[in-house]
């Protein structure tokens, strides 16, 4: 029997299905080009009532009552100003990459979608996932247009087009050594100011508190968090947590360097080996899944190389209350080198984009304008409902003292970080005592980035690029945290494997892209 009678049946069935399913999809694609064609200077027409759809990478808020009240409040504002309402889709937190890709490919026609460099903004933008907003912004987001600085617009442009609206908050997240300050004082260990004093601290813990890990971090975070800030280099390609394959010296930006060929890289390795041998971190670190800060906060380890300043200060006041006598210290790794490049988080780290098939791009941009610059919208979307999610102190600060945050968490309703604005931000009453001073110090260190607006396109070298990153995981990580018998041999093997995997081809391509970028900026 050679005729499978089922075959024609399947064929017809699947054809029918596919036609019906995918025709819906392709129909949705067509209007995407329309709005970009002409910037309208005519009066804005909002006579038609619309519902905007927003896609957010986050889990839905749990408290349905709070959520309902929040949407009621927001929709009241929006109906009045925009003749529109909003519907938010929350995507599951893990598996976020698939969900994100699905949201853009599915024909669900979201108007607004959260975007960020860590969500591969540039890759998606280059594949046409977002709508070009360059011509919409002057008309539909006039307040943002007025207040946003030019360098922020430049930084988010892909091929000269604005594909996302960045926030207007200067955000900092500096890798830091986060450690138990009380133990340092108790055992009379030196003040932390460089790698030698860090080593002395770790040895002191090892000697005095045997049932505590001196430090605890997963995989090669020990090295990754600390290495780049300890040098004069700036990362060109961010590949994984704090990792890079290529760097430049901002003083000489046209020379692309492989991270592993810099003299600093090799010079750091013996110290890592010595520290690993001395037991400053777990011999099993490569398989660990523990976040260092959790280990410190729960008393398992004395320190982590993967602290974040200032974000991690948020739990410190509560912690010091729960464990009287505990003190937490932070040492920003960028203090290791006066030439360390501190830029703060770039504008692409928090954005809202309009999808390529958005039914109402104009209204969407108008909404972003209000979210970012209008005080009523701002307070509601950033902090939630007054009295329920927060209270306002007499000196106009946000306080959570009387709020049960496990039930009434405010900020989770909305991608609020994407519309944050320093002008409208309020201070938090219960912050870490020296929080605002320390942040100000870090702000003072920041310099504009030479690479602001540089978007690496790995598409042409996808194969080799994937390969060198896998080599780094397999050969680099053990070496970087000193878990190899012979540093010299392991280093040679790592370099050789990277070459075999095609690091030279990657370098050539990235150098080309870098040159083109610097040319366009007029940098010598």
């Amino acid at each position: 029997m050679n005729k499978n009678f089922a075959r024609p049946v399947i064929l017809i069935l699947s054809l029918l299905l596919m036609v019906s399913v995918f025709s819906g999809c392709s129909k949705a694609v067509t209007p995407s080009t329309a709005p970009t064609t002409a910037p309208t200077t005519a009066a804005i027409d909002i006579s038609k009532k619309v519902e905007l759809k927003l896609f957010m990478i986050s889990d839905a808020p749990l408290n349905q009552d709070d959520t309902d009240k929040f949407y009621a409040a927001l929709n009241t504002l929006m109906t009045k100003d925009l003749n529109a309402t909003i519907k938010i889709t929350y995507a599951a937190g893990n598996d976020y990459q698939n969900n994100y890709s699905l949201a853009l490919a599915s024909g669900d026609n979201y108007d607004l979608i959260y975007s960020a460099d860590w969500l591969l903004y540039s890759q998606y933008a280059k594949k046409g996932a977002f709508l070009d907003l360059t011509n919409l912004i002057p008309t539909y987001a006039p307040d943002i247009q007025k207040s946003m600085t030019a360098d922020r617009w430049e930084a988010v442009k892909i091929d000269g087009k604005i594909m996302g609206i960045p926030c207007q908050a200067k955000t900092y997240s500096e890798s830091s050594f986060m450690y138990r300050e009380d133990l340092r004082i108790k055992y009379n260990l030196p003040v932390i100011k460089d790698l030698d004093t860090v080593g002395a601290y770790l040895q002191g813990i090892k000697d005095n508190v045997p049932d505590m890990l001196p430090s605890d971090d997963y995989q090669a975070q020990v090295f990754n968090c600390m290495f780049i800030p300890s040098t004069k280099y700036q990362i060109v390609d961010v590949a994984g947590d704090n990792q890079s394959n290529f760097v430049i010296d901002p003083a000489n930006p046209r020379v692309l360097l492989e991270t592993i060929e810099t003299p600093e890289f090799k010079a750091m390795l013996p110290r890592m080996k010595q520290w690993a041998d001395a037991g400053y971190w777990s011999q099993s670190a490569l398989s660990s899944l523990e976040w260092g800060e959790f280990s410190v906060l729960n008393g398992k380890a004395a320190s982590t190389f993967n602290g974040q300043f200032p974000n991690d200060t948020n739990q410190v006041p509560q912690l010091e209350k729960d464990h009287p006598g505990w003190k937490i210290g932070f040492f920003e790794w960028n203090r290791l080198n006066p030439l360390s490049v501190v830029t703060g988080q770039g504008p692409t780290s928090n954005m809202l984009s309009v999808t390529h098939n958005a039914p109402n791009p104009e209204r969407a941009v108008m909404l972003v304008n209000l979210l970012q610059t209008n005080k009523d919208y701002y307070m509601l979307t950033q902090y939630g409902l007054p009295g329920i999610n927060y209270t306002l102190t007499a000196d106009n600060q946000i306080s959570y003292a009387s709020i049960d945050l496990s039930k009434h968490l405010g900020g989770a309703f909305f991608p609020s970080s994407a519309t944050a604005n320093d002008v409208l931000n309020l201070k938090k009453a219960d912050a870490w005592p020296t929080y605002y001073d320390r942040v100000a110090q870090d702000v003072a260190l920041t310099k504009p980035s030479v690479l602001a607006g540089f978007v690496l396109d790995t598409q042409p070298i996808q194969t080799q690029y994937t390969a060198i990153n896998n080599v780094k995981t397999q050969y680099g990580n053990p070496l970087m945290i000193g878990l190899v018998p012979d540093v010299e041999a392991a280093f040679t093997a790592f370099v050789q494997q990277s070459k075999d995997a095609g690091i030279d081809a990657c370098k050539t391509e990235i150098q080309k892209q870098l040159n083109a970028f610097l040319d366009s900026k007029g940098v010598k």
């Binding site: 995918f22 194969t463 878990l483």
Partner: protein, 325 residues
Amino acid sequence: MRKRPEPGLLTVKTKGNGMLSFSREIGKNRVLYLMMLPSLAFFAIFAYAPLVGLYYAFINFNFIGGLFGSPFVGLKNFEFLFFGGAHAVVWRLTLNTVLYNLAFIFIGNGLQCFTAIILNDIRGRIYKRTTQSIMLLPYFVSFVIVGAIAYSIFNFELGSLNSVLKVFGIKPVNVYMLPSVWKYILVFFNTWKGLGYGTIIYLAAIMGIDREMYEASELDGCNIFQQIRYITLPLLKPTFIMLVLFSLGGIMRGQFDLFYQLIGNNGILFNATDILDTYIYRSLVINFNVSTGTAAGLYQSLFGFAAVMIVNAIIRKINKENALF
């Protein structure tokens, strides 16, 4: 399928006969075909229709063009696996994946079969039911938790293994730097987790054996081992073969959660523990791309497809009844 000469191929006239015999067959057994209809419709809609998505593997996907409007790129999306020709990473990964799966399949099925036989013949109803329930418990413990438990046993400084060794004055071992032991650990955990589930299948199969056969054999003076050897085992063979064949289709699909949660990104262990799924996962984290993911999945499918077709054909030659199709 290949060897029998089929008259339908030769002339138009006999082709007509083929159609005729088709409708006659359907007419004759219409109740039976009707009974299958819901299932056939189900698979046509939910399994065959979405296969159109395999086309993603051959395009450079962009959002404007979608599935049918993006440029066709041939086999370019497969390159990341096969880059390097004979030294390509895919060969080592394929070997690892296949070997692990073979170990999982045969050790797993063997033990499940063995356990089912003992469970079936052991006396004491309460004991039997209790152990059977307990064996199902690991199925509910997710690999995230298994990974955490394994880490708390094996980690060098605080792990319970080294605490025990210390008591006996033995030098502590760093399991996370010993690639050679992980094959056993992974096989152990996988077998452990699937034991209860698989045992149920074999137990059900034993229940299908006609009870009179045992009664007759007892009269003939067979002891329990002879009964197992001459009645139970031969009659479990079809089930065993079916389960093995079924697993062979997924021979290139690793237990991603098992490997990822137990090993993580520990490069030291990769030569012994890296499988295709973990490699693909790490690649997609760096470079997320629908097309690349589909291409990798297609490679896994085709490999499994080939494996099943070959083994099924062999089994068919030996005994038609035991073949899957």
